[in-house]
Symmetry: D2
Subunit: 438 residues, 4 copies
C-alpha cells in the first residue's frame, strides 16, 4: 500500500487565541521547546495562522488595521525537530504545496497607519487601508479593488531554523547598534521585547529568558532567512536552510496567497491562514559543502507565467520626489519606480491607496537594473497586464472606470483620504509636478 494520508504536525484553530497555541511562537530563540519531531525524508503538513494572529476581519472597515497590535504578530508554527539535523548541516525544505485553510478562503492586504507600522510609501500614504481578497481555487479577487483577478504565487513569508545562542547574540548586538545610532525620525529596528512574547510550550524561567532575549521576527536575517518575504519561494521550491542548533528547530509561518516584489505596504502580501506541505531532507555538512552562509533556493516549475511581452515595465532612478539626487541608492530608485506605476494606473480610476495595495500583493517584478552608473541606480517594476480584465496597455488617454473603494478606518472616505499632508505638493525632476490633486 502506498501513501494514504500526509501527517499534519500542527493544527491551528481560528477560534482560539494565537497565544494559546502551544505549537506557535513569535520570537527566534534556541531555547523554545520542540513542537514535534519530523523524520529526515518525511513530508508533513503544517497549519499556520495569518501573520497578525487573527486580528484582521473579513469586513469593509480598516479600523482593525489602524489599531493593530504589532507585538502580537508572526505566530510561527514550530519549532520542529528534524531528526539527525546538526549545526553545519543544511536543511533541504521542499515546498510541496501551500493552501489557504479550507474554512477561510479569504485573505487581506493592508496599509498600516504611518504612526503604527507604516510602509514603504508611508510618506505619501499615511492612512490605514485594507483590501479583502476572496479565493476561488488558484485565483483571488477583491471587492475593494475591482477589475483584477490573478492566480496566487502562494508562499510562506517566513521560513527558517532557529539561531544558535551565538548567532542570536550577534543579531541583538548589531541591531542594537543600529537602534543606538538612529537619527531618523522613525523606528529602524525592533529590539527584544517581553510584551506579548510567546515562547510556545515554554514556561517559567525559560519562557522569561526567551521573552527577554528572543529576536523579533520582523526582519529576515542573513544567517537563517526567516522573514525573507520572497514571493518566488512558492510551490515546488527547494529551499536550502542553514542549521544552527541540534534538531534544526524549523519554523514556518506568515503564509501569503500572493505578494509583489518588495511587499511594499508592509502588510502587503495577501495575508492568510493556511497549510503548508513540506518535505524535509538533511544534507550533512551542507553549509561547508555548499559554501553557504545565507539560504538559497531553486524555485518550482509552476509559477504563473505570462510571457515577457505582457509585463508593462516602469523605470525609476535614485532621484527622490523632492528632486534630490541620491548616490546609487536602490531603495530610493525602487520607491520612485513604484510611484511611476501609481501615476500610470490612477488614470483608470483607481485611487492611490487601491494601487498601493495592489502593487503590494500582485506578482509585480521588481528588478535591480543598473547599479553602477553613478550617481543613479536604476530599477524596474514589471506589471503583468493580464491580471486586469480591461486593457491597460499604453495606447493613449485612459478611460476611467468605476473602481469603488478600498476599506478605510471609520470616518475616512475615498477621495478625502490623506495623501501625505503638507508633503503632497511635491515636485519632481525638471520642474514637473509629480502628483496632482485628485
Amino acid at each position: 500500500m502506498g501513501l494514504t494520508e500526509i501527517r499534519n504536525v500542527c493544527k491551528v484553530s481560528l477560534d482560539i487565541p494565537a497565544e494559546k497555541h502551544e505549537k506557535l511562537h513569535n520570537r527566534w530563540h534556541p531555547d523554545i521547546p520542540f513542537a514535534g519531531t519530523i523524520k529526515n525524508g518525511e513530508t508533513v503538513k503544517i497549519e499556520c495562522l495569518d501573520w497578525t494572529g487573527g486580528q484582521i476581519g473579513n469586513n469593509d472597515s480598516a479600523d482593525d488595521l489602524n489599531n493593530v497590535d504589532l507585538t502580537k504578530i508572526h505566530y510561527l508554527s514550530g519549532p520542529f525537530e528534524i531528526e539527525s539535523a546538526e549545526p553545519g548541516d543544511v536543511l533541504l525544505v521542499e515546498i510541496m504545496d501551500v493552501q489557504p485553510l479550507q474554512e477561510a478562503p479569504w485573505g487581506f492586504t493592508g496599509v498600516f497607519a504611518k504612526e503604527n507600522g507604516g510602509g514603504f510609501l508611508d510618506e505619501f500614504y499615511p492612512t490605514a487601508a485594507k483590501a479583502i481578497w476572496d479565493f476561488e481555487g488558484i485565483y483571488c479577487s477583491s471587492r475593494h479593488i475591482p477589475h483584477v483577478k490573478f492566480p496566487g504565487l502562494i508562499h510562506p513569508g517566513i521560513i527558517g531554523c532557529a539561531p544558535s545562542a551565538e548567532v542570536l547574540a550577534t543579531w541583538n548586538k548589531r541591531e542594537g547598534e543600529l537602534i543606538a545610532a538612529n537619527k531618523l525620525d522613525r523606528i529602524v529596528a525592533q529590539p527584544p521585547n517581553t510584551k506579548n512574547a510567546h515562547a510556545g510550550s515554554a514556561s517559567g524561567d525559560i519562557k522569561e529568558k526567551i521573552a527577554r532575549e528572543g529576536a523579533r521576527t520582523i526582519p529576515g536575517r542573513p544567517e537563517h532567512g526567516g522573514n525573507c518575504d520572497i514571493k518566488n519561494l512558492s510551490r515546488g521550491s527547494k529551499v536550502y536552510l542553514p542549521v544552527h542548533v541540534p534538531g534544526a528547530k524549523f519554523s514556518v509561518g506568515d503564509l501569503h496567497f500572493s505578494q509583489g516584489d518588495g511587499e511594499i505596504s508592509f502588510c502587503g502580501a495577501i495575508e492568510m491562514a493556511g497549510v503548508i506541505t513540506i518535505n524535509f531532507k538533511v544534507m550533512k555538512n551542507g553549509m561547508a559543502d555548499l559554501g553557504m552562509k545565507s539560504p538559497m533556493y531553486l524555485p518550482g516549475p509552476v509559477e504563473p507565467h505570462y510571457g515577457p511581452g505582457r509585463y508593462l515595465t516602469f523605470e525609476g532612478f535614485s532621484v527622490d520626489q523632492h528632486g534630490k539626487q541620491h548616490y546609487m541608492d536602490v531603495t530610493v530608485a525602487y520607491r520612485q519606480t513604484i510611484l511611476r506605476c501609481i501615476e500610470y494606473l490612477r488614470r483608470f480610476g483607481y485611487s492611490d491607496y487601491q494601487i498601493y495595495l495592489l502593487l503590494s500583493c500582485a506578482p509585480i517584478q521588481g528588478h535591480v537594473a543598473g547599479i553602477v552608473d553613478i550617481p543613479n541606480a536604476c530599477t524596474t517594476l514589471g506589471l503583468p497586464m493580464d491580471i486586469f480584465d480591461f486593457d491597460i496597455s499604453p495606447t493613449g488617454p485612459a478611460k476611467k472606470l468605476d473602481m469603488g473603494s478600498c476599506a478605510y478606518p471609520t470616518g475616512v472616505k475615498e477621495g478625502e483620504v490623506t495623501m501625505g499632508g503638507a508633503n503632497s505638493e511635491i515636485s519632481w525632476g525638471g520642474g514637473l509636478t509629480y502628483k496632482e490633486k485628485q
Copy 2:
C-alpha cells in the same frame, strides 16, 4: 514591391577614431546638431561603436582596461530628428533587432581598477580584469571564463532623447549639489567636463557651449532614460520615451550583447560595436496621456527562457561584510547577494574575478524581494544553471575544474591578484568568516 532594404542612417568605422565621427556625440545637450532625419513610422538601422569607442582590444591583457580613458566613452549615435516629434510627445521606439557588427563578432567584459572607474565590488576586487567573448550567432563564449555559453539578451545600454535646456539645468544643479555635499572617499558623480567632449557636427561656440554644459552620459536619468542599462530592453521591446525638444533628438549607443541585472562590474555587460534596427512612432501628447514622467517599456517575446526551476537563487540582506546592520538598504543587500553567489561558484574552480566578470554579463535576475521588514532589505539573485556545461546544482561538495584565467594587467597573475588588500580578512554575521584565503 515591398521592402527591399532598411535604410542605415549611421555608419561607423572601427578604423576611424570615435571623435572623428560626425554622427556620434558623448554629451547630452539640446544644441547638438541633428545627425539625420527619420520619418514618423520609419524603420532604420543605426550603427554604434562600443562604449569605450574602441579602446579595448581582443587580446589577453587587461592593460587597456587598466589604463582606460573615461573621458573618451559613450560615443552615442545621433541625435536624430524624428519628424513631427515635439516636447510633450512620447517617442515609441520598437527595437526590431540588435546585432554585433559583422566584421567584429566579439565583445568584452571588464573590471576597472578601483582608482580608475571602479565598480560595485571594488572594495573586494580592486584590480583590473577582462574577459573577451566570441559570438557565434545567438551564443557567446569566452576563453577567459571556460565552461559557460549563453545566448545574448542583446540590447542598447543607452537610449533616450535629448534634454531641454530646462531639464539639463535641473540635472546639472542636482548632481552638482550631490558632488558639493560629498563626504565619501570616492567620486559620486561626474560634472560637465570639456575634456574630450564630442558634440557631433557642432563647431565653434556651439561646440564649446555643449562641452561646457553638456551632461555626462554615465548616469541614466529619470526624465529621459539614457544610460539605464536595463538588460530586458532587448529585441522586440517597445520603449516609450519622453520628448523634451522639437524633433526629439534621439540617440542610442553602448550596445550590449548581454548583461546581468546591475551590470555590477561597471564595464560589466558584454560590450560591443553593433547595429540596432529601430522603428519610430510619435505619440502626440503622449506624456500627459500616459501620465508618464520616466520611460516605460514592454519587453519583447524572445527573451531566453529557462523555466523558473533552472535559476539557482541566492538571498542577501542589508548586513554588510563587516557585520554592520544597515537600515533597509537594498544596495547593501544586493552586494551581499552577489557575494553569496561568488562564494558558491568559486567552489568549482573559478577565480573571484572570473565570477565577478560572469555575474556582470550573464543574464542573472536581481530582484528586490522584501523592502519593508525593518531593518533588513532582502534581495535575490537568480543564476541560470543552464549557461554552464557542467552541473552546478546544490547537491554536495563541488569538484574543481581547470578554469584557466581571465585577463589581467601585465604582471598580475591568477592566484596572486589583489583581493581587497587589508580588507580581505573580513568577517560576516555570527563570527563566520565570509571569504577564505584561496
Copy 3:
C-alpha cells in the same frame, strides 16, 4: 462579509458503489434528470469519482486492470442545470482548481490487456500493467516507476454539455456506420449498450430509454467536447462549451492528476477521484457570435514550465514498424515517435512497460510537425528532462539504474512480460531492427 465557503454541489463517497450515486451518470443523453442547479456567474465545487468508478486499488498487482469491467466506467458528475442557458448559447466554464480528494492522495496509470481495452501501443505491449502514484501537494511520484517526480498538470478528462436529441441521433448514426463498415480486427467504436447504464436519478421508462439510446462516453465528440482528454485544460483554463439543451446539462468527470499528449495507454493519465472548482458564465447566442462548432479554450497561466531547451524531442514519421510507408498518417507517425522515445529511455534500465506508463501520464508534448510533405507526416514528442532525478540528456552511453518494476497481473514478472508475441521480431527502416530482445 465576503466569500466564506464555496458551495459543493456534488459529494461522492468512495465507500458507496458508483452506480448508487444519484448525481452520477455514465451515458450522454438529453433526458438524464438534472443533478442540481447552478446560477449564472456562480462558482461551485463538484466532486468526481475516478473514471473506473473505483475498480482499481492502491496495491502492487495489475489484476484489477486486467479484469476491469469497461461497461462500468466514466461515472460523470451531473448533469447540472445552469440557469438561463439555452441552445445556441456558449457556457463559459472557468476551471478555478482541481484537487485530489483529501482522503485519497493517490492515483493510477494503467495499461489494459490488448483483448480488454487495449491502447495505442497494444500491438507491442499486450499485457496489463499498472503504476500507482502518490500525491504530495503539487507533485506525484510512483514506487512503480522510480526516479521520476513531476508536478501535476491537473485537469478533467471529460467536460461538456448534454447533446440534444438531434445531436445524439447524429452521433449514433455516424458511429453506427463506422461499426457497420469495420473490417479491422478490433473494436472501432462502442454503440449504445444497456448493460450497466447509469442514468443518474432517472428511473422507469426514462431510464430505459437513456440506456437504450445514450451515447457512450469514451470518445470526445466535436459537437460538445466530452472526453477530449486535453492535458492543458488545467487550472485557470477558460473553456467555451456549446449548449444544446435548455439548462445546458453540464457534466464533468474523469479527473487526471497529469497526462501526456495522446494519453497513449488509454488508461493513461494519472486517474484519480477528486474535486473540481468551476465558475460558470452563460454567453447568450455565443455559438453564432463566436462562429463556434466545437469547444475552444484559453489555457491558464500556471502550467508547469521548464524552458524549451529542457525538452528532449524525438521525431517520428509515417513509416510503420514493418517498414511500410503510409500516406500522410499522423497516427502512424505519432506511434513511431513514441517508440523512438521508448528505445531511448530503456537504456537507463526502465522496462518498456514502465516507459509506456510514464509517457502516458507525464506532461509530454506531442506536436504535429509537418503534415504536407508527401508521403511522410512528421510528429515530435518533447520529453521534459527535469522530471527525472538523474541526467537523461544525450551525452553518450547510458548507465542502467535499478528501476524495480511496475505492477503486473498475477504470474507476470518484469523481464518475462509479453512484448508483442510473434510480432516482436519487427524490423524498421533500412534493415535496422527496431526492438531488440531485452
Copy 4:
C-alpha cells in the same frame, strides 16, 4: 586573438540560376560529391536559396505560385564532409543562428493550386494564393495579411545527412510500393525523376546515376530527418543526426523565417533565402550509444514565448466535413481543428485564403491531445493572440476590419475566389452547416 570571422562555406547568388550553383543539389544520394569540408568542432556559415530556387517574386500576383515548377525545388546546400564522421556516428548539429540574406529581407507563403502541388486543405481551397512578408529584424509583417506581426521562429525546413546506398534502396522500395498501391485520386509520393535533377558538382555517369536513383526531397524520412519541417528546430537547437556514409555528407536548406505546426499550405512556411550558422560535433558510435534510429533534438532557449494563457486553442476530432466518422485518424482531426480556427478568424474580416496562409506560417501550436478514445482522435491548435494588433479573444460578436487581400493569380479576386467548387456546400456534425457562403 580570438574569433574574428566565421567561415562561410557556401555562398549563393540570387542572380545565378539555382542549378548553376555547384554547392547545391536537389536529390538525396550517397554519390553526390562533397561541396566542402568542415572540421569536427567547427562553426561555419552556410548560405541557402529559398526552397523554390527563386521562382517566386516579391510582388502582388500569385501567377508564379500557380505555375511553379515543382521539379525545380529544394536546392540544398552541401553535401559537406564532416571530418572524422563515419556510419553509426551521430552528428551533433548546433544551430547557432539563422538569418535572411541581408539583401533580401523578405519571404513568401504560398498556397499551390490543387492540381499543381496542393496542400492540406486543397479540397477547400483549390486556388493558388500568396502573401509576401517583410522582415524588420526579428519581426515580419505582410501587406497581404494586415494587422498581424510576429517574431520569426526561424529554422531550416531541411536538415540531414546523406543516405547510404542501402538506406536509399529502402526508401525507393517502400515509397514505390505506396505509389504502386495508390487508389486515391491524388499523387501520394514522388519517385525518382531525372527531370531537373541537380547533383551538385557531379557530372557524366555519376550525375546520371544520381538523377536516376536519387530520392526526392519532399518527404522527411525516419532514417535521416531531411525535410522534417519542425518549426522548433530553431536558433539554439542541438540536433542529433544519424550518419550513414563516411564524412556524413551533411546538407541543409529550405530556410523558414517562421512556420506553424503542420506547415499546412505546403508552401506554408515563410520561405526565404538566408544563411545558417552551425557548429558541428561528431559523437562517435552515437547511434548505438543513444539507441537512436531517427533524429532527436533539444530546442534552444530563445523561442518566442507568450504565456500559455495567450493561446486561443481550438479542438478538433476525427469526424470529417461530410459528417463521416473516421477511426482514430489524427490527420482528419487536425484538418478539422484548423477549419474551426478559420471559421473563428473569418469573423474579423479576413478571407479564408488569408487565414489559410496565416495558419501555415504563424507559430501555431498543433498538439495531439487524445489518441485512444475510440473512435475519435482529438487534436488542438493553439493560436497566439498577441500576433494580432487587435483583440481576438472570444468576448462576443466580432467587428470586421478592412483586411485588404492576399495575392491571387491573374483574374482571381478576393471575394470571388473558388472555395471548393461543388464541395463548398458541406455539412458538418448534427445538421449544422460548417461553411457559409461569404
